[in-house]
Structure formats: C-alpha cells, structure tokens
Amino acid sequence: MIERLLIHFGFAFVATICFAILLNVPRHAFLAGGLIGGTTWDLYVVIYYHLHVGLALSNLVAAILIGILSMVAAKLQRQPMILYNVPALVPFVPGGQAYKVVRYFVLGNYGVSLGYLYQVIVIAGAITLGFGLGDLINTAIYGRHHWHAAPFSQLKGWKKRD
C-alpha cells in the first residue's frame, strides 16, 4: 500500500513537472506544481482504488484539492494560480478512456465505446465542477478582489437623467 502510493507519487510528480516544461512554466514553480500533482494523484488512488466511492466523487475531491492547494502555492510564491493547477491536472485527464472510446468505435463495438464515453464525460464534468467548487472555497477563505467595470449609468461625471 505505502509502496504503491510512493510509486504513484513519484510518477505523477515527474509527469506534472514534464507537462510544466511543455507549457513553459517558470522554473521556480516546478517543485510546488509537482508536489500538488503527486499529492492529489495519491489521494485519488486512495479514494478510487481503496475506498471505492466511484469515479465522479473521487475526481471531484481531487479537483477541489488541486484548486485549494494551487491557491495556497500561488499566495505563497505571489504568482498566478494557473502555473500550478494546469500542470497538476495532467494525471486526471481521461486520456486512456478517450482512447478506448475511439478504439472500440473502430472495432464496431459501440456498446463498450459508449460506456467509455460516459466515463470521459463524467470525469470531465467532475473536474470542471471541482475547479468551480475549489474557486468558491478559495473565495470564502481569501475573499474576492476582482475588478470590474461599473455599470454604465452609475459612472461619475455623468449628468443624472431627469
């Protein structure tokens, strides 16, 4: 169990850093991104393969954790959050399932193909929802500081309409 987790952590760590190189992430963000990727992948392995709670919930929890940890790293290093959460997501991309959709479709086995398509949609949806929920939790912790345009009718220096 521990061995398996360590092996998975190592591979996810290396894969995250390699994807960060492909996306041209600055070097000082590599270590934090790799640690986030490895940790969340380990959590996913524990939840999915040992607790058996299903595909959707395990991806959702992992995505929420990626969002929160990325925000922590971004605040610590004073960098944009996108440097951490995009590389850390790479082990969760449903590449294997997407490939199997195509493979069984070509073989004419449409039932199996649809089953894998369902898995791809569930994973993609769960990750999207998880990122949204992670943002929500970050807003609850750090507050929202986004700047927006004021509505056109409330601008200063404009005469009020009668």
């Binding site: 996108i82 995009v86 990122f131 943002d135």
Partner: protein
C-alpha cells in the same frame, strides 16, 4: 491627465490583455489585470470588451477607443507570470506608466522558448510515466519514451514550419499510431494501446479545456464557447488520426 497620457494608459491595458490572451490565460484574469492597470493609471471609466479573438477598450467616454486583433494561440505560462509581475509592480507604484508599457512590450517581443531537445525530453518522460500511471504497463517503457519524444519533435517542427492549428496534431497523432504499430510489429514492445495512450498525452489540449470551463463559469460566454470549440476540434483531430491508424494498420 493629458490626452497623450490617457492614450498611453489605454494602450498599456490593451497590450497586457493581448499578451495574456495570446499565451493562454483565462478571461477573468485578463479583465482583472486590464481594469487594475486602468484604475492604477487613473483612468476614470475604463471599459473593455474582451474576446479570445480581439480586445476593444476605451476610457472616460472619449474618442480614444483602441482595438487589438488577437490571432496567436500559445501556451506560454512564463509570459503570464511576467505580466502579472509587471501589473503588481505598477500597482505598488514601483514603476511609472511609461516603464510599464516598455516592459510589457519587452515581454511581448523577447522569446521565452525552451530548447527543442529539452521539450522533446520532457514529452518523452511524460509519455512513459503517464503510460505507467494509466495502464500499469511497465514492459513498454522504452518504446513509449522513444515514440513520445520523436513524435513531439515532429509536432514542434510541423507547428513552427507550417503554422497550422489542427493539422499539426492530426499528423502527429498519425505518426504516433504508425510508430507504435511498427514497434510492436517488430516485436520490440507488446501493447500498441498503452504506447499510444502514453504518447498522445503531450498533444492533449489541457489549457484550453481548463480555460473554457472557467470562462463559461465566470460568465465570459463568447470566450468560453470559442475555447471549448477549439479544444474539441483539437481532440477530434487526434481522434480521427487514431481512427485511421487503428482501422488501416
């Protein structure tokens, strides 16, 4: 505030927005950075209309609206970090508006590309690590390493030479399939599927998909749907190539 300063401030906001969009930032960050620079530069009622393909901005309801046409799509997070640093420095009054504009144009002009060999090595290592993570197959490590690295080299060459958007991914996926089949045919590896799954991961449009989801959630509908379409087209290009390989090889 003179007219010239006002124009320079609008230009600075537009340049920051252009760099961010070109290099794959989500729209919320683009809007946030532009409005922040505008507020710190002293523009009174800054308005920006941002999409993935272009930006329009004006200030103080004067005849000073400026437009930027955005054509390039890259995933270069270094430049996003640099624009973020410049915006922070400007907000802390460490630099003047003119210096901010100059530094932004430096960011836009200087190349931040990594060496091709390093990128190929990263793609190769990512191919076999993800293959092991996804499938648990440890016998075909060397094959995945070689196929992933060489195909990513071809991808970089295609993109830099022909500058086509979806055909680069299509041709690379064709090559991945062909190479994997060849390697297995000559008995150097066991399973075609695992090698393809690992090697294809360096082509997957991770940044556009993430950005599309975040844009749609944050209410930037036009950008979100455009990016979603781009990501789906890339995925479809890869899928078509794999279909061709599996059907005829």
């Amino acid at each position: 505030m003179t007219q010239e300063e006002m124009n320079l401030a609008v230009s600075t906001c537009l340049l920051a927005g252009q760099i961010l969009i070109e290099n794959g930032s989500n729209m919320e960050r683009v809007n946030d950075t532009m409005y922040r620079i505008a507020a710190n530069a002293g523009l009174k009622s800054f308005q920006a209309f941002t999409t993935v393909t272009g930006v329009v901005a004006s200030s103080d309801h004067c005849a000073n609206a400026q437009v930027v046409d955005v054509r390039i799509r890259r995933n270069d997070l270094t430049r996003i970090a640099q624009v973020n640093a410049i915006s922070r420095d400007f907000a802390d009054h460490k630099i003047e508006l003119k210096e901010a504009y100059q530094r932004l144009s430096m960011v836009d002009q200087t190349s931040t590309k990594q060496p091709v060999l390093l990128q190929c090595l990263a793609a190769a290592i990512m191919s076999f690590t993800l293959m092991i993570v996804f499938t648990g197959d440890t016998q075909d490590t060397l094959a995945a390493f070689l196929v992933g690295g060489s195909s990513y080299w071809v991808y970089l060459w295609l993109v830099s030479t022909f500058r086509v958007r979806y055909l680069g991914e299509f041709c690379t996926a064709l090559m991945i399939g062909a190479l994997a089949s060849t390697v297995v045919h000559f008995g150097l590896a066991q399973r075609v599927d695992d090698i393809i799954i690992g090697s294809i991961m360096s082509l997957v449009p991770g940044v556009p998909i993430t950005n599309a989801a975040r844009d749609i959630v944050s209410g930037n509908g036009i950008s979100g749907i455009t990016r979603m379409l781009e990501a789906l087209l890339t995925a479809a290009a890869i899928g078509c190539a794999i279909v061709l390989v599996l059907r005829y090889l």
